[in-house]
Amino acid sequence: MTTRLPDDQGHFDTFGGRFVPEALFAALDQLETEFRAAQADPEFQAELRSLLTDYAGRPSPLTEAKRFSAYCGNATVLLKREDLNHTGSHKINNVLGQALLTRRMGKTRVIAETGAGQHGVATATAAALFGLRCTVYMGEVDTQRQALNVARMQMLGAEVVAVAAGSRTLKDALNEALRDWVASVDDTHYIIGTVGGPHPFPEIVREFQRVISTETKAQMLERYGRLPDAVLACVGGGSNAMGMFADFIGDPEVALLGFEAGGDGVETGRHAATIAEGQVGVLHGMRTYVLQDSDGQTKESHSISAGLDYPGVGPEHAWLAATGRASYEPVTDTEAMEALKILTQTEGIMPAIESAHAVAGAMRVGRRIAETDPDARPVFVICLSGRGDKDVDTAIRWFGLDGSADKTAGNL
């Protein structure tokens, strides 16, 4: 794996590339040039490191989940705690890097797409910190199911635009952000939140999220003197997974396991399992796996988790899947919600529903290994990409809670 990927045209073998209007090429070239210069600039790197440490709260802890591990066969499960970052998810890692790039390019406005609102909140946060104007595009359906995050972004000074076109979810928010960018590219940087879109975004976002696996590797070696047997992450567009995989790609003894949103079950057609069920196509500027019909029209994805509800996937994941270096499995809504409850009640850590897909994956894979190889004692690291505060409303509905107390004390 010594070849540098992507290549100069942004290809991961046949995946990736640039499928966007000509009007955006100059901006993509400028972004690539500035990114390469920034990567080689010690001052830029020092400023980013300082922000990650003193503002975002890195390094994030690696927590051994002792009671939860009992649900995972003979595995020992560790949690990489991206949920403890400022703004509550891994999204801040990428946003701080891209905000610094925005300033370096002399641009004064940022735009972003968001599904669950995590990337939108992170972008609005960085915009406030750097004094940048900010517009966040969010599918109308998602603004309704994530109203709290809409309010958070507005508190941070961002303008939130509900997108009423198409399926009114994440993919349509991305379309609308691209439309904004074509018209505003002179003063505006588009902070894409996932390892997708046209080159160089998949590479940039991977590099800004790489810190997850760099820290994990060092923490494993320091505390356990070994690498994990597997790293596990949920995959929508795939940014936390790419961050968790990046430094382990060259370590063949470490399995890379991604878990896509299986929604109601892939057999129902209502899911977001792009790698499992999609075909190679072009969407949002990249060639990758896409959920599409026989004409090539994008199919609507379905997931209880807004952050995974996306019918495409980052091109490097497509490549890792095609080469067999990483494997991807769907996890249903039901499995994810069950895992969310178990982790919350065994460890006192409530994950985002997105991350709960990886938690469910650990239970499934741990038990599978225990059945096939009862003597194995594997070590797993789950990327706990976000915290579950934003998902309490969904949990109330799913588990039939009503928010009322269990009993009343103090009455006569």
């Binding site: 045209q9 590339g17 640039r18 499928f19 966007v20 209007p21 000509e22 009007a23 955006l24 090429f25 100059a26 901006a27 070239d29 076109a165 198409g166 993919k171 349509d172 379309n175 691209l178 439309r179 074509v182 018209a183 590219v185 002179d186 075909q279 196509g281 072009v282 969407l283 949002h284 500027g285 060639r287 896409v290 599409q292 026989s294 004409d295 090539g296 029209q297 994008t298």
Partner: protein, 282 residues
């Protein structure tokens, strides 16, 4: 303006014929499938006729797509409705045949995934068999167009790529070199949609393309909605491209409860057609 005959293809020849009359060509766009497939086929033929038998010199037929990132609300709305009503990629072929039968070259404007899914070579074959002239590809640039260049060479189809005010000189040269037929200049940095004022970036962009000495006509699009704007844009361009304003007449007809009424469409075509005929050319 002298053009390089060997690179004009079917659609470029229509530009050259208009130039012989001392005027810019008129290029009109409508999507197949809106308000329904049958009416949309009548509508693309109406683009060639207007009210009095004089209309567009070149017709662009769009294939609706779920994620049209280059399009504004008018074309999005028509495309979404067409998809909800069950339009398929293959429905574009009878529309192409109907336009080709009038003697007007028919181009298809399409987002790339639809062509990849059909099969690039298979689409080129079936499209050429229907009498199509070539493709306009808003999200495919020469960088990723190897398969399409081979297929379009094999079936003798035009390749119309887009250039923009932000294109660097180097990219402009590469893109123009890859074109056959004509060059599509997106004069406004933005998505499709009628605008009160058209761009003043257009003359500069047209001049930059011509300075490359490629011998290809340059069409200017994005924002033109009436005959006066067509006359103004046509003063410096070899062709004037109109889309959203035409689509809007069909949206208005449906909103008025008469989706089959092409009267406003024909009237606008005639206004635009008169506009390009009064363009004051240097």
């Amino acid at each position: 303006m002298t053009f390089d005959q060997s690179r004009l293809g079917k659609s470029g020849e229509a530009f050259a014929a208009a130039a012989d009359q001392g005027r810019p060509a008129l290029v009109g766009y409508l999507p197949v499938g809106y308000p329904d497939v049958a009416t949309s086929i009548e509508a693309v033929v109406a683009l060639t006729e207007g009210t009095d038998g004089t209309g567009c010199d070149v017709v662009e037929i769009g294939i609706p797509y779920t994620d049209p990132v280059m399009d504004g609300v008018a074309i999005q709305r028509a495309g979404t409705a067409a998809l909800e009503r069950g339009v398929h990629t293959r429905d574009v072929f009878p529309a192409v045949e109907a336009v080709a039968a009038t003697g007007t070259p028919a181009l298809v404007m399409t987002y790339w995934n639809l062509i990849e899914r059909y099969g690039v070579r298979a689409f080129a074959r079936d499209f050429a068999a229907a009498g199509g002239a070539g493709l306009i590809t808003p999200d495919l640039t020469p960088d990723e167009a190897g398969e399409w260049c081979a297929a379009s060479d094999e079936y003798g189809l035009d390749r119309v790529f887009l250039v923009a005010p932000s294109s660097t000189d180097k990219r402009l040269a590469t893109t123009v070199r890859a074109c056959r037929g004509w060059v599509y200049a997106t004069a406004v940095m933005g998505v499709t949609g009628a605008r009160a004022e058209t761009s003043n970036a257009a003359p500069a962009l047209v001049g930059r393309v011509r300075a490359l000495g490629a011998g290809l006509p340059v069409g200017v699009g994005l924002g033109v909605s009436n005959g006066d704007q067509a006359a103004a844009v046509g003063a410096t361009a070899d062709g004037v491209i109109v889309g959203s304003a035409l689509v809007s007449t069909l949206l208005a007809a449906e909103a008025a409860g008469t989706p089959g009424d092409l009267g406003a469409l024909r009237a606008l075509v005639s206004d635009l057609s008169a506009g390009v005929r009064r363009a004051e050319r240097p």
